[in-house]
Symmetry: C2
Subunit: 562 residues, 2 copies
Amino acid sequence: MPHLTQHEVMTMFLALAVLLGTAKLAGELMQKLGQPSVLGEILAGILLGPTLLGHFRPQIYAALFPSTGAMPIVLETVTTIGVVFFLLTAGLEIDLRSIFRQGKSALLVSFFGVIIPFALGFAAAGAFPRFLGAEAGASRLIFALFVGTALSISALPVIAKILMDLNLIRTEMGTVVMSSAMFDDLVGWILFSMILGMMNAGSHSFGGVKRTILLVAAFTLLALTVVRWLIDKILPFIQAHTSWPGGVLGFIFTLTLAGAAFAEFAGIHAVFGAFITGIAVGESTHLRKRTSEHIHSIVTNVFAPFFFASIGLRTNFVSNFNLGITATVIGVACLGKLLGAGWGAHLGGMDRRTSWGVGLAMNARGAMEMILGLLALQAGLIRETMFVALVVMALFTSLVSAPAIHFLLRRRRVLTLKDTVTTKLFLPAMKFRTKDEALQHMCEVAADAVSNAPERFLRLVLERERVVPSGWENSLAVPHARVGGLPHPIVVIGKSEAGIDFDARDGKLSRLIILILTGDNQAQHDLLGDAGEMFSRKEAIDQVLEASTFVELVAALNAPVK
Amino acid sequence: MPHLTQHEVMTMFLALAVLLGTAKLAGELMQKLGQPSVLGEILAGILLGPTLLGHFRPQIYAALFPSTGAMPIVLETVTTIGVVFFLLTAGLEIDLRSIFRQGKSALLVSFFGVIIPFALGFAAAGAFPRFLGAEAGASRLIFALFVGTALSISALPVIAKILMDLNLIRTEMGTVVMSSAMFDDLVGWILFSMILGMMNAGSHSFGGVKRTILLVAAFTLLALTVVRWLIDKILPFIQAHTSWPGGVLGFIFTLTLAGAAFAEFAGIHAVFGAFITGIAVGESTHLRKRTSEHIHSIVTNVFAPFFFASIGLRTNFVSNFNLGITATVIGVACLGKLLGAGWGAHLGGMDRRTSWGVGLAMNARGAMEMILGLLALQAGLIRETMFVALVVMALFTSLVSAPAIHFLLRRRRVLTLKDTVTTKLFLPAMKFRTKDEALQHMCEVAADAVSNAPERFLRLVLERERVVPSGWENSLAVPHARVGGLPHPIVVIGKSEAGIDFDARDGKLSRLIILILTGDNQAQHDLLGDAGEMFSRKEAIDQVLEASTFVELVAALNAPVK
């Protein structure tokens, strides 16, 4: 029986450590720049792959990712499992009911947002297949269908992140965009699975294209109706009669693996089975939020990065970069999505500016295009130049979405307490006995930070304090004031061991005092909202009270106890 | 480059689904029988392996787990990653400080609990190596060292489970046993890694045995001192400046993979590197409980079962079963541990009965013996008969520990609300307006269940109610009484939409009423304690209030919101 040698096991763990470490580091850097972390994970792969490491340090590259022996199989196993589990979480996020609840607007945005880019992509690819990187032996029809599909899927997680950052997710525009993107995902994957079936029909032993399409249709239909209903009935039993959360996790992962196996059996890729399983499980009202949190946190943070980083390992992104193909793909993709989704939104009754916003949001692509591209590359449908063009298109559209919407709708990022704290404005051991003394000192510190006179700050804070006392519950007080002409918001965080009377709702002394001074109402609204949400639980306040250094304070604000 | 075929990807997901599904099912069944779930996971592997499926349905077995092509590498990749991540969680559970805090007793129990079984195993194996299943070419010294080590490691997770079930974990005996078992783990693994280094010294290309021992010693020392200190300094920075929990999870898993790679590089197995990394990370006071929960739930419930089920796939447990070897291994293992740990406890000042209890608890073995056995089998040190004997010994000692302690110390399992509820005793929609009406009805239902007169129940409950009103906070009331002669505890759970006044501490009406009637004080203490712990959070009460069917009720009690 083939067996991993000690050297191969070492290489496996070293390669995985380097991949994960680099991917997470680059992902976090991207997030600091306000971009989705998946961009960083892909860039990490390009860095470690043939493009850079393989080009400049071929020996290190060959030692880390050998192309012979068992290592290619090892890496393929890990990345395949990674992407299958990633599609499970993508499926869990889809909410079928919300799609139908949104009604006309969402349906119009989804419909035109899919059909127009599909038609444009289909036409362009049908007209110029060789120019757009069709593989020599590929069928023109299948290639055109593939390009149409690849240009019509939006990236649900990227869109969700952008809308959240811009505080648009709970607006009408936000819900319409989210529902439409979910619908896009579902339709796009079904389309793609059909194409994959057509592509593979000749090459595998199970049977023809009719069989594949029949199996995929039957699987999707059954999974989203009967199986979905069954899961909803079975979940409470599992939660009642098995260990928590082991039983329900085992059930979900077993179903996902079985769904993945069935999809491969049907002649399409495992990820489709995992995605549909995820939707069927996620629809159950009995699925606990904590269960999906557990799955989500490990899968998106540990398993998915292996896959995304591996994209960059596949090919050389410099030598396979073709400006003509890439520009065409980006142009057709953006044009189709902006016109299609924007037009749908306009037909649904939105004003012109918001409609463009919908188009821009739906234009963000991501993981799905890359997965599709990779499968098409492996199946011999497209050449590497087209694969690189698709990856670049996905990266580009994700990158420009947020700034473009920002510019169009004049939305800015929501302010949070974490953004505003600085070392100078953290007072970990205040010794004052009275509210007035404490506030005076805090205002002095604040005024110092903007070279301003403290008296005005204090007067405004105390005025506000007379209207509504700023003591909240559980030892927290949040004095605040609007100070006209302030260049940026100032938040001073003070801690008092003994506690100070801020006339709190629960009568307790306040030990955590957060002074919020802002120049405008919007910033004040943001920061008070952030404090209210973050400190709704006593444990979150305690966590800040335990912080004695500035780093511990930021850690507590960055990841509050929920 | 070698590549997985579509058929291989299908087989991979099918095999993983079957392994996981069977392992979880068997694991849950074992838990129902009060046994650790890992026993079920191993039995699932024996069921699916050469012993049963391979014997009776060889074609299905060969299709699911082919021994040629890429599939053996795929399975080895998944199970190796599974066991490495499992050792990470095992390491996270070790608390070095608590070991030293326990002082003399723990040190004596650890020391004698390791040295006596080690000495007995070493002597037996040194005297009769061939009889005990040493491989033909194996060194007698290394074989004797191996057997000594394999018999001296206790199973921390199994012991923790047994002590918790018997409500012993917070007693002096419990803390001494836990600390000693941790120490055993650490010492046993270091010993074993040395032996592995000696074993591999000839066979791999990196260098001699001195180099391995030096590297292992340096790695362990550095990881538990400098690296541990560094991690403690770095963690707050990561929690402050990266996304939560992605950054910290990425950091921990990258470190673990790097530690695993280093251990392989040093000439020992990857699991040792992951284990030591887990200890170093777990020691940090900045590691959040939620972070380890996330890791723990997915790793122990999804990844570890792949490994444990794969143990049964390795060999035929019937044809390789040798009664002589197995009986000897079990006899020496039990004798050594009981005498050693028991004697240590006695020297530490415990009475005779408790000392025997400590010996019995420390006698539980588990995953570690199997991992050691597997590595020794793969390294050509032991024959399959010895491997089977070690697995059976681990299963046997785990199985008998809890009943034996139960018998010796007359401890019984702690009662929980979940154990006592039945469909008949769940009243999802009570319409009563007053406390007296509600209690009268609930007492009638309770009396009916044991064919008793309700008047006495009601009188006792109301008497108790006059002393202390039974309304707790957040719409919960827990009326209760001790009823002499009751054959078993009765818990009636009633819900009232409108709410009933039970004179609650927070003045609210009670909508969830839990009537607890017990024959003895101990059961009452258990059940009130369970209610107090479970319903300390409002969300847990709300979850029960949302339950409209009996299954939903049990699900809410089984997995309360924490």
